[in-house]
Each structure stands twice: as structure tokens, then as C-alpha cells.
């Protein structure tokens, strides 16, 4: 009798455990499907919560959310690999000149570094570096959801039914339940910025962003945002965006709704003839900073307090640099990708004098 009771309890426990295991433990992935998302290109990647990776596909004008299931917590505070591009290419059976690394993102939970790679023949690849070894994340059978980037302007299709508009996604970030995407269209030289709630619904905001482009001495709605991040100032969220030639502009997040036309406040100028490549916020010794990698200049470091406290708005033409001060990090020139590795360290890809890439980490 005892045996039977125990068996019943045992079975009951097993059933409870099984049903608990089968139950989707996340509402974020409850509308995900498993299959081939038919990704055509990867231009930008960024991690959200629970190991969800957002991926911007310019060719399909689509944002994908992938469930990487890479959610085992790990502590990694250091990375180092010389000849990074040669090694990555070798693991794909080709040489470095046949691939292009389009973006890099650190999984904040597992600390695995993800790279989006384009091969010369157009094959988009998602790669990770785990314990010094490259792995491929198959995009053929994965749990995902997606949303198309609808254009405010209805486009005509050509006679074969193809949409002639092309998006060039320049940056992508997840913040507090929303995915934000910046880009450029091939037809008109216009900045395109989209913000959408995640989990994806049919909603999409098309805020048009206007800033005073100080180097240009006039309001510029045309300039495309190259890179951005979200910062919190006095308990209010702002989009901190940087453009070609290189102004740094703050937009209040709560105004980026619907089809609002939002005016930004330019707080710094890093100078003309330069293009920002990547931007992250980081902390050191209890202080916050914003780091920005550039084509012409070294990576620059802004003290967050000066960003938060500046009431500055550059509305007059400037020559050279102006606005809040920044520090140019001399040993971080030619940085092409940046991300936070952990609370104190950043990971970055840097071009060396011999033209190869090195993956490094630093506490700045």
C-alpha cells in the first residue's frame, strides 16, 4: 500500500515537474515560431533580455527576434584574440578578404560574443565565440518572431512585384520593451528611425527626428543616424544619437511616439570628416560614461554627468569641436565594433597596423 502511495506521489510530482518544464517560462517568446526565418542579410545585431537576439536585415527590411536559448550565466571579464578575422574566416573555410564582420554583440547572460558576418557570395552568417572557439548559430531552424519595416511612404512595386526601396540598417538597440532601428533609404537621402514594442505587434512609430546639425549650420532632418544608445537623465530617458560629421544629439524618448516630429538638442560636435561607428554606455568606479568609436578619430569617452547636466544646445555654427568635453582614447584608434562585456569591461574589435583585426577587452 505504501508503495502505491509513494508511486502515486512520485507520478504526481513528475507530472507537475514536466508540466512546469513544458510551460513557456517567458511571455516574451510566447508568440515565437520555430523554423527557417529566411534571413537574407544581417546588418546589425543587439541583445535583449533572456538571450533574445535582435537582428536587422536590410535586404528583407525586417527585424527578427531570435531565441538563442543561450541563457546559462557565465562570468567572463577578459577576451583576447589576434588575427581574429583570419581565424574566423578559417573556421568558415575561406580567407579574411572574403568575409565582412557587420556587427558584434555580447550576450549579457552567457558572455558569449556574437558576430554577424557577410560572405562575398551574400551568405549571411551568425557566429559566436565561446571559450575561444567559433560556433555557427544555424538560422535554418530557430525559434523566432519578426516584424517588417513598413515605410511611411507607400512604395510602388516594379513590374515583377518587387519593392524597389532598399533600407540600409545602420544601428539597432533594444531598450525597456522597445526595439529601435536607424537606417537610410536608397532613394531619398533621408534618415529613417523606427521604434516598435517587443514582443512585436502591428504597431510601429515613425518619428521623424530633427536636430540642429551644428557642423552644418542649419537644421537637418535628412542626415541619417549612424549609431545610437538610450541614456537616462534625471529619471527621463533620452535617445543619444550620432550622425556623420559628427554631432551628438539628445532626443526625449517619450516624444518618439506615433509620427511625431521631434526636435533634438545637439550637445557636442566631434568634428567634420568623421563618421561614428558604434556607441555604448559603460561604468567605471561608480561613474557612467558613453564611448563612441569613429572612422577618423580615436574612440572618444564622454563623462555621463556632463551629458546629463549640460543645458547646452548648439544652435550656432561651429568650426571643429564644441559642446561638452570628451576624452580621446589614444590606444583605441581604428576600433570598428564595441560592446559591454560585463559591468566593468568592454569588448572591442580593432584594426591593427598590418590590416588584421584583434579582439580585445578593456576596463578603459
Amino acid at each position: 500500500m505504501k508503495k502505491i502511495v509513494f508511486s502515486i506521489i512520485g507520478v504526481g510530482l513528475a507530472v507537475t515537474l514536466l508540466s512546469y518544464m513544458n510551460k513557456p517560462n517567458s511571455t516574451l517568446t510566447s508568440n515565437f515560431v520555430t523554423g527557417n526565418p529566411e534571413v537574407a542579410s544581417i546588418n546589425a545585431i543587439s541583445f535583449g533580455p533572456e538571450g533574445i537576439l535582435f537582428l536587422g536585415d536590410s535586404k528583407n527590411a525586417t527585424i527578427y527576434a531570435l531565441d538563442t536559448k543561450d541563457t546559462k550565466t557565465k562570468n567572463v571579464s577578459e577576451v583576447n584574440m589576434t588575427n581574429f578575422d583570419t581565424n574566423l574566416a578559417a573556421s568558415l573555410g575561406t580567407s579574411a578578404e572574403n568575409i565582412k564582420i557587420t556587427d558584434m554583440a555580447v550576450n549579457p547572460i552567457s558572455k558569449a560574443i556574437y558576430f554577424s558576418v557577410n560572405s562575398a557570395d551574400g551568405t549571411p552568417l551568425l557566429m559566436t565565440l565561446k571559450d575561444g572557439k567559433f560556433e555557427n548559430v544555424s538560422l535554418k531552424n530557430i525559434s523566432y518572431s519578426k516584424i517588417g519595416l513598413v515605410d511611411a511612404v507607400e512604395d510602388k512595386k516594379d513590374d515583377r512585384g518587387r519593392d524597389q526601396r532598399v533600407w540600409a540598417i545602420s544601428d539597432l538597440k533594444y531598450h525597456n520593451g522597445r526595439v529601435m532601428v536607424s537606417g537610410l533609404s536608397n532613394k531619398e537621402f533621408s534618415s529613417t528611425f523606427r521604434s516598435m514594442p517587443f514582443p512585436f505587434t502591428n504597431n510601429q512609430d515613425y518619428a521623424s527626428l530633427e536636430m540642429y546639425h551644428a557642423a552644418h549650420g542649419r537644421y537637418e532632418t535628412y542626415s541619417p543616424i549612424k549609431t545610437f544608445d538610450v541614456v537616462n537623465i534625471d529619471k527621463k530617458e533620452y535617445l543619444l544619437a550620432s550622425y556623420t560629421c559628427t554631432p551628438l544629439v539628445l532626443f526625449p524618448m517619450d516624444e518618439l511616439k506615433g509620427t511625431n516630429h521631434v526636435k533634438g538638442r545637439t550637445i557636442a560636435e566631434i568634428g567634420a570628416g568623421n563618421t561614428p561607428l558604434d556607441m555604448i554606455a559603460m561604468e567605471k568606479d561608480g561613474k557612467s560614461y558613453v564611448l563612441m568609436a569613429n572612422t577618423r578619430h580615436s574612440t572618444v569617452k564622454f563623462d555621463f554627468e556632463s551629458i546629463a547636466s549640460t543645458k547646452e544646445s548648439l544652435t550656432e555654427k561651429v568650426e571643429g569641436t564644441d559642446g561638452i568635453t570628451f576624452e580621446a582614447l589614444a590606444d583605441m584608434k581604428d576600433v570598428v565594433q564595441l560592446d559591454n562585456l560585463d559591468a566593468k569591461n568592454i569588448a572591442y574589435l580593432q584594426k591593427t597596423a598590418d590590416g588584421t583585426l584583434v579582439l580585445k577587452s578593456s576596463s578603459i
Partner: protein
């Protein structure tokens, strides 16, 4: 030791030697067999490689690049019977040599040759077709017959030489994410807008990308590869003869419509008084019949993008037709029907038109 025992001893040694020789022979043979155990190899595909092997287990096999870091290539291994197939994550690269390794030893070397059936890729067109352009020319398009390589380094293959000042110049805007169409055979190149717009710092520091009264040669490098790794094999050049600034918006009132004849299916011709943007011109027009129905047909450009032809799928009837033009249609300087490219778009700028379409009508008697 007596003679007999010495003989027996020698015999023993002989037998031992023979035994060792035989053992050695078998060992050699086994080693040789191991080396040649990969047979019936199929290397004519970039997608996968298949071979038969009797002595290898999947766990021991790997494929690496020859003369490169010894890193196993990522992909899927599978076997059916004694046929082993490897499908690499990225298809094999034409011209690369690969090694199949059994544990640490290379057992087979193969090279991926070019695909015979591929047609060579050509540069079909460079827009604008006309050599004469305004000094504020905003963009150019390159159209290829096949998809081109996707490495984001197109500007490495495009050289611009100022024949008037006798020097190489930087004209095009370098973009992190290049503007190709989805098929990756049409590239949009921007002449740096920050330099085209007057009074902006890039414009003040560097001047216009192309100067009035200068003559330029754009050279497309023949080593530029298509997506299959084949080079263009032919140098292409394009001349730009730079004229005055175009500071006029396209004005539909200056266009000439040549109405087609009734009952014919001849094209409707719209003559612009200037060259317009090739791709925008092809997609900015719709023609409606007297009953306000959209007429099916195709558009083409002629006379160096000065003329648009509409070829209807049906014959024309008599009546009043309407042409709807999207106001985002641009000329070569990026001026659209609503505003000049070089416009200060302040929120309170009342001069900027915001209508999205312009209507033009014509009669067929």
C-alpha cells in the same frame, strides 16, 4: 653451443626476422590503406563533399584550409552506409585548397575549381547616362548583370580622377552599410551630401565633390568580383563634364507630353526639360484612363533620362487621360518637385510644399 643448436638459433632469428618483415609489411600496408581510405570523392560542388571511407569514423574527420590556421571548418557531417558527406556552413570558396584530415593526418587534398556554367558578370549601365552633369550631382547608380560580392568595400574598386586638376579625388560618400538593391546588382552611390549642400562645414572645408568646368574620369576596376568570385575582367570608364549648379526644382509645367494616336498602342512620351533620376523616374508615374482606371503597362527611359515612355498593355481610346506624378521624383541634383535638396527644412519653413502628387492631363482626340 654446438653446431646444431647454432643452426637452430640462426633459424629462429630468420623466422623472427621474416615475422617482423611480414609484420612491418602489414603495418605499412595498413598505414597506406589508412592514407588511401578516402575514395570516390566528389568535389564538383561548393555546397558539399562526399566520399567513401572504410577506415574512418566521423569523429576523427575534419576539413581545414591548406596553408592557413589549423581550424576545423564548421559544417555538418553525416554518413549513409560508407558514404560520408560534409556540408560546410559557408559553401567552399572557388580557388581554395582544402585538406581532409583523419585525426591529425591529412588524407586527401582537394581544390574547388571555377564553375563552368557561370556566365561572366558585366557592368551594364552607369546612371546618369549623360556625361554632362550639374556641379551638385547627388547620386549615381551602377547596374551589373549578376549579383556582386557583398563585402561593403565597393569604393575600393571605384576610382575618380579629376582630369582638369590632374589628381585623384574622393567624391563618393563612404557608407558603413552600402546601398545595394536586394538582388545585389544595383549600387547607389551618393556624392557626399554634406559637401553638396552649400554652407555646411564639409562643403566649406572640402568644397563640392565635383567642380564646375572640370572633367572627371570614373574608372571601375576590373578586379572587382561578383558574388561567385569572378572578376569583371574589363575596365569600365565614365566621363563627367561638370556644368552649373542645378537650383531649379523639376517643374511639370516645363514638360512636353506627346499624346499617342487613338486606337494605337504606341508609347506615351513625356519629355522632361532635363535628365531625371533613373530609378525614381521609373517608379514615380501612374497613368489613368478617362474612366479614372489605372492603365497597365511598362515604363522606360530614353534620350539619356530626358524622356519617359509609357507602353500600355492596351490600345489608347479618345478622351482625357491623367498622369499622376509622385512629388518625390528628383532631378540629378536631388531636387524634388516639392523642394530643392539644398533647403533648410526648419519646421516653420512655409515655402516647402508638402503635396505628395502632381496631376497632368492630356487629350487624345
Amino acid at each position: 653451443m654446438n653446431k646444431k643448436s647454432a643452426f637452430t638459433y640462426l633459424k629462429k632469428i630468420k623466422i623472427c626476422l621474416v615475422f617482423f618483415c611480414v609484420l612491418l609489411f602489414f603495418n605499412c600496408k595498413e598505414a597506406k590503406e589508412d592514407k588511401t581510405s578516402i575514395i570516390n570523392i566528389e568535389t564538383n560542388s561548393r555546397e558539399r563533399i562526399s566520399f567513401k571511407s572504410t577506415s574512418s569514423t566521423l569523429e576523427d574527420l575534419s576539413i581545414v584550409l591548406e596553408n592557413q590556421p589549423d581550424i576545423p571548418i564548421l559544417g555538418d557531417w553525416s554518413n549513409v552506409g560508407d558514404t560520408i558527406t560534409f556540408t560546410p556552413v559557408l559553401p567552399f570558396t572557388v580557388g581554395q585548397t582544402y585538406k581532409i584530415k583523419n585525426k591529425v593526418e591529412a588524407v586527401y587534398v582537394f581544390k574547388i575549381g571555377p564553375d563552368n556554367i557561370m556566365t561572366s558578370t558585366e557592368l551594364l549601365a552607369i546612371y546618369p547616362t549623360s556625361d554632362a552633369v550639374p556641379e551638385n550631382l547627388l547620386k549615381m547608380y551602377l547596374v551589373f548583370s549578376n549579383p556582386m560580392q557583398e563585402l561593403g568595400n565597393s569604393l575600393d574598386y571605384i576610382n575618380v580622377f579629376d582630369n582638369t586638376s590632374n589628381k585623384e579625388v574622393t567624391v563618393f560618400l563612404e557608407l558603413q552599410s552600402e546601398l545595394w538593391n536586394k538582388e545585389h546588382n544595383v549600387l547607389t552611390l551618393w556624392l557626399d551630401p554634406g559637401r553638396v549642400k552649400t554652407d555646411l562645414i564639409p562643403n566649406k572645408e572640402l568644397g563640392l565633390p565635383i567642380q564646375k568646368d572640370h572633367n572627371y574620369t570614373i574608372t571601375i576596376n576590373p578586379n572587382w568580383k561578383d558574388a561567385q568570385g569572378q572578376t569583371l575582367n574589363k575596365t569600365h570608364t565614365k566621363t563627367l563634364i561638370v556644368g552649373s549648379r542645378d537650383s531649379e526644382k523639376p517643374n511639370t509645367k516645363n514638360w512636353t507630353i506627346k499624346p499617342p494616336k487613338k486606337d494605337s498602342d504606341e508609347p506615351l512620351t513625356i519629355h522632361f526639360n532635363e535628365a531625371l533620376d533613373y530609378f525614381l523616374a521609373l517608379e514615380s508615374f501612374t497613368v489613368f484612363d478617362p474612366e479614372k482606371s489605372n492603365i497597365a503597362g511598362t515604363f522606360s527611359l530614353a534620350n539619356k533620362e530626358h524622356e519617359l515612355l509609357f507602353h500600355p498593355n492596351q490600345a489608347w481610346k479618345s478622351g482625357t487621360y491623367t498622369i499622376v506624378v509622385e512629388n518625390r521624383l528628383e532631378d540629378l541634383a536631388g531636387n524634388n518637385i516639392n523642394h530643392l535638396f539644398d533647403t533648410d527644412l526648419k519646421a516653420n519653413n512655409s515655402k516647402v510644399q508638402t503635396k505628395s502628387q502632381t496631376l497632368i492631363s492630356f487629350m487624345i482626340p
